[in-house]
């Protein structure tokens, strides 16, 4: 029986601000899980701390609301202990690209098959609107007393540099498109990162819904807003790096990703930027070392004999150490 978005709805009050972009992300994720025909118990969602961090509470699936900046290591640990789980990690931009950015960089090196969503709203929402690492230099939002003194991180560029094998950007109010991205990301074998432009109507009065949808840029003819956000698919852009590509082709792709990652202002691309299908996952590397890792993963091994004693046989090692 096919599942619906509603099957992933947990019936508790959602306390995000009215109009928060997080609602779009939530729906897109629920739809994606349904579309993938996953059952709630197969999915484990790990989040950090922030408005974004509350997301798992609103999803009917295993929901682990962890520490500020740390959803990735929790998620990786769970995935490696049981590679059969569908593991998703969720951060805010402060959470994932601020205090937790080290885990992001190192996740790139590992390529564990986990999907990572960053709610990119330019502010530390839950602590009342301080500048987050994606807020651009010199920008002054509502709650900060002085224009931002730090330059912004570029999540796409950073992901590429870190070796992330699936890199995408979504927009919280383009729910169907975001859902499609999530489906692709979850299907991707390896670490998949999605930066989601997420308006925070309460604290970010610069990168608003109106900004992204270009309400200040009316088409002279139609008088309709010309959205700043555009879809890479609409350009016919192909993000995939395949095993049969030449070095030059791969480099051209990398340059293109960087070019796109630096676009901002009136042209803000969303879609899949980069998808490298040539890297083995961490789980595959482990299987090589541990032989029965995938078929008998850590979380599933039976540890005790029927009598309650240890079932682990270390006699070979003891042999080696005995006198």
């Amino acid at each position: 029986m096919a599942l619906k978005l509603a099957d992933f709805k947990e019936q508790i009050h959602n306390d995000w601000c009215p109009g928060c972009g997080d609602f779009g992300i939530l729906s897109a994720l629920q739809s994606a899980l349904a579309e993938l025909n996953l059952e709630p118990h197969q999915v484990a969602i790990f989040s950090g701390i922030g408005c974004s961090g509350k997301l798992p509470h609103f999803v009917k699936a295993y929901g682990i609301h962890t520490l500020h900046g740390r959803p990735l290591p929790y998620a990786l640990g769970a995935k490696l202990a049981n590679p059969n789980l569908e593991v998703i990690a969720v951060s805010g931009d402060g959470d994932g690209l601020g205090i937790g950015v080290s885990h992001f960089v190192h996740a790139g090196r590992r390529n564990v098959d986990v999907t990572y969503i960053v709610h990119d709203n330019g502010v530390y929402g839950l602590t009342k609107g301080q500048a987050s690492p994606t807020l651009k230099l010199g920008v002054k939002t509502k709650a900060i007393p002085e224009p931002n003194i730090n330059d912004a991180v570029n999540p796409i560029f950073l992901a590429l540099a870190a070796g992330v094998t699936f890199i995408a950007r979504g927009y919280a109010y383009d729910i169907k498109h975001l859902k499609d991205l999530l489906v692709k990301a979850i299907r991707h074998k390896g670490f998949a990162f999605i930066d989601v432009l997420q308006p925070c109507p309460t604290y970010n009065d610069v990168n608003t819904k109106a900004f992204y949808s270009g309400e200040d840029r009316l088409d002279p003819l139609t008088k309709k807003p010309r959205p700043r956000v555009y879809r890479l698919e609409d350009l016919g852009y192909d993000p995939v790096v395949r095993a049969d590509m030449t070095k030059e082709q791969v480099m051209a792709k990398i340059y293109k990703v960087i070019e796109l990652s630096l676009e901002w202002g009136d042209h803000i691309p969303i879609g899949v930027f980069y998808q490298n299908e040539t890297m083995p996952t961490y789980e595959q590397r482990l299987e090589q070392r541990l032989r029965a890792y995938l078929s008998n993963p850590p979380a599933n091994q039976r540890l005790n004999t029927p009598e309650g004693f240890s079932a682990t046989d270390i006699s070979e090692i003891l042999q080696e150490l005995s006198v």
């Binding site: 059952e39 484990a44 295993y62 990786l76 004693f309 240890s310 270390i314 006699s315």
Partner: protein
């Protein structure tokens, strides 16, 4: 003197001191003897002074005395640092080419040592050369054995096709073979030891055996019978020769650990490297392949949190670290406590604070282990007193973690990690108790009985049924925020109190359920007027000290605390009530003493503490206890032996 012998081998880091010591220990062990040894080294890779001190006996050994019976030195610094530790009647092996070296021009030798030597030699009218040290040894009645490493190496080089320079690293084998020749242990044990130590490297085995033989013969021919200490093989059962690191790794495997995360740090990392190299094993009989994922993380917070993630998924999971790493992971302790996730942290204490003395010993983290993490949550803190306990405790930690669904901190220390000892272990008695863990079938039952699965259901015991992530038929939520029975964030004041009470009451439950024998051990007569309290690896030295005192008719009891949290305060009170309490600890402030006073009101009469980075010797403990009994001890005595 037969089969009672303290050996020390020393040289520059990287020149094979450990290998020497390993060969020595293995050879003795294979000969049916019992050994206990400790390793001392700088936080350095090559060039600084390091040494290994080992005690051999026909009976099991558990601590060291400060005096050395035979010092085998690779270099002049070893002589400068240790020559005065050699007991009268003992011996020194040294390289004669170092004799005219000046002690003031050994670049790595600490100024404090140099100054002490200058004073001492000048007082004896000796000049400042190594020769003077040897001379002083002779005057003291120490046998001195020049061992011309270069000559012997030249001889080996002639026999093999190897160049002299390639053989230089064999000094370590020459030293240990010579030493064993002096004590007249049969050469076959040395050969077997070398085979074992260099296993998998046939060439090295061959060369080293060759070298050992030549050195052995050299000493036999030159110095034979002169040395009074002898080691003789004896019949004995199979035993293990283990370091603390290895014992803990083995305990984890047997205890069912299937996920070990780590970030490199001394002296914890060796445990993880050991596991990584032995990550596949048989499980449930012949055919099933079990494995442990050893996960090197980007930092220690990632280590603890990934282990917690693995714990949530249902694997028994642990991480190992020492002080600095523990400080980095602290935030994860509270999260595991708050979400009642079983996870084990093995904390190898070393000299603190900060980077401190990274390769030296201390037990300064007790209070920290008890209170690390903001706010209040239940944790279980246990400490092992020796290598054998460390093995069983490492396994048992997972039972505690899963039964009480919380974080367990297993406190060990550098002295334990880097000691080696002949021990007997029995993996077959290790029990696996997974606590209240529901399976898919259990969930079906719950539901068909009309129930709902709630991860944090209020229960009389405080323990709520747990499921692994991925269990069919249910889901749950976790949050570091205060939460309701489902795991959703909740700030209601009543819920808060109920949840705090639920979590914290698990400590009372653990206290009431865990057998006393796992919590404290008492040695000696119950009526002893003086009672030592201590924890951790001071155990051996204390036991030996009170054993000797008892031979002299002085009865002192010894209360070893293994369970630091929840502290069995009533039992402790009962034992200590009407006694003079002597707190013996490897830290500055007598942390256990304070803890006992806090929890029982009982005051400590005397503190014997040590914080110079070197473990306690049985003789200094013996003397300080004797002083306490005789009323000549200060309220707080600071022990200072060890180089």
């Amino acid at each position: 003197m037969l089969n009672n012998f303290t050996y020390m081998v020393g040289g520059q880091q990287g020149s094979g001191v450990d290998t020497s010591a390993n060969i020595f220990a293995k050879a003795c062990g294979l000969a049916g003897l019992e050994i206990y040894g400790k390793r001392e080294y700088h936080s350095n890779i090559k060039g600084m002074h390091s040494y290994f001190q080992l005690k051999v006996n026909s009976q099991p050994v558990r601590s060291l005395t400060s005096k050395v019976d035979l010092l085998a030195s690779f270099d002049e610094e070893t002589l400068a640092v240790h020559y005065d530790e050699v007991s009268t009647g003992g011996g020194v092996i040294y390289d004669p080419k170092t004799l005219d070296k000046k002690i003031t021009s050994i670049p790595t030798l600490d100024k404090i040592v140099v100054n002490r030597l200058i004073k001492r030699l000048e007082a004896q009218g000796l000049n400042l050369t190594i020769e003077s040290l040897i001379e002083e040894c002779r005057r003291r009645g120490v046998h001195t054995y020049p061992l011309p490493y270069d000559e012997i190496l030249t001889e080996i080089s002639k026999k093999s096709e190897k160049k002299f320079s390639e053989l230089a690293r064999m000094i370590n084998v020459l030293a240990v073979a010579s030493s064993l020749a002096l004590v007249e242990l049969e050469i076959t044990y040395i050969e077997r030891a070398i085979k074992n130590v260099f296993r998998g490297k046939a060439k090295a085995v061959e060369e080293n055996i060759e070298g050992a033989k030549i050195a052995y013969e050299y000493v036999k021919n030159h110095y034979s019978a002169s040395f009074p200490y002898k080691l003789k093989s004896q019949p004995n059962g199979k035993r293990l020769l283990l370091t603390g690191n290895e014992a803990i790794a083995l305990g984890k495997l047997v205890g069912g650990c299937r996920f070990q995360s780590y970030y490199p740090i001394t002296p914890a990392a060796d445990e993880s490297i050991f596991l990584e190299a032995r990550a596949i094993f048989r499980l449930n009989g012949k055919d099933e392949v079990g494995s442990i994922v050893v996960f090197q993380t980007e930092d220690e917070l990632a280590a603890l949190t990934s282990a917690t993630g693995a714990g949530l998924a249902g694997a028994r999971a642990a991480t190992s670290t020492s002080g600095p790493g523990f400080s980095v992971m602290v935030e994860g302790l509270g999260w595991a406590g708050m979400n009642e996730v079983p996870v084990v942290v093995t904390l190898y204490q070393r000299g603190g604070p900060s980077t401190g003395l990274p390769t030296r010993h201390e037990q300064g983290d007790l209070r920290y282990a008890l209170h690390a993490g903001h706010g209040e949550f239940p944790r279980i803190v246990i400490a092992s007193g020796d290598i054998e306990e460390a093995f069983y405790d490492a396994a048992q930690a997972f039972n505690y973690a899963e039964k009480y669904q919380t974080v367990v901190i297993h406190l060990v220390d550098k002295a334990l990690a880097n000691s080696n000892q002949t021990v007997k272990l029995d993996p077959s008695i290790v029990r696996i108790e997974r606590g209240n863990l529901l399976s898919e079938e259990d969930i079906v039952k719950v539901k068909s009985a009309g129930g709902e699965y709630k991860r944090f259901a209020y229960t009389p015991s405080g323990i709520s049924p747990r499921v692994k992530l991925g269990t069919k038929g249910c889901v749950f939520w976790n949050s570091g925020d205060e939460h309701d029975e489902l795991g959703h964030i909740n700030e209601n004041p009543e819920n808060r109190v109920m949840m705090m009470d639920k979590r914290m009451s698990k400590l009372e439950l653990a206290d009431s359920e865990i057998p006393l024998g796992e919590k404290i051990k008492y040695f000696g007569s119950e009526d002893a007027k003086f009672k030592v309290v201590s924890w951790g690896s001071t155990k051996g030295a204390i036991l030996d000290a009170i054993h000797h005192l008892s031979e002299e008719g002085i009865e002192i009891g010894f209360l070893q605390i293994k369970m630091l949290c929840p502290l069995p305060s009533n039992d402790i009170s009962k034992i200590l009530e009407d006694s003079k309490v002597i707190d013996v600890e490897m830290n500055y402030s007598g942390q256990l003493g304070g803890l006992i006073t806090e929890k029982t009101g009982i005051k400590v009469s005397n503190y014997i503490v040590k914080y110079n980075g070197r473990p306690m010797f049985q003789d200094e403990v013996y003397q300080s206890l004797k002083d306490v009994v005789e009323g000549t001890a200060p309220k707080r005595r600071v022990l200072t032996l060890g180089a």
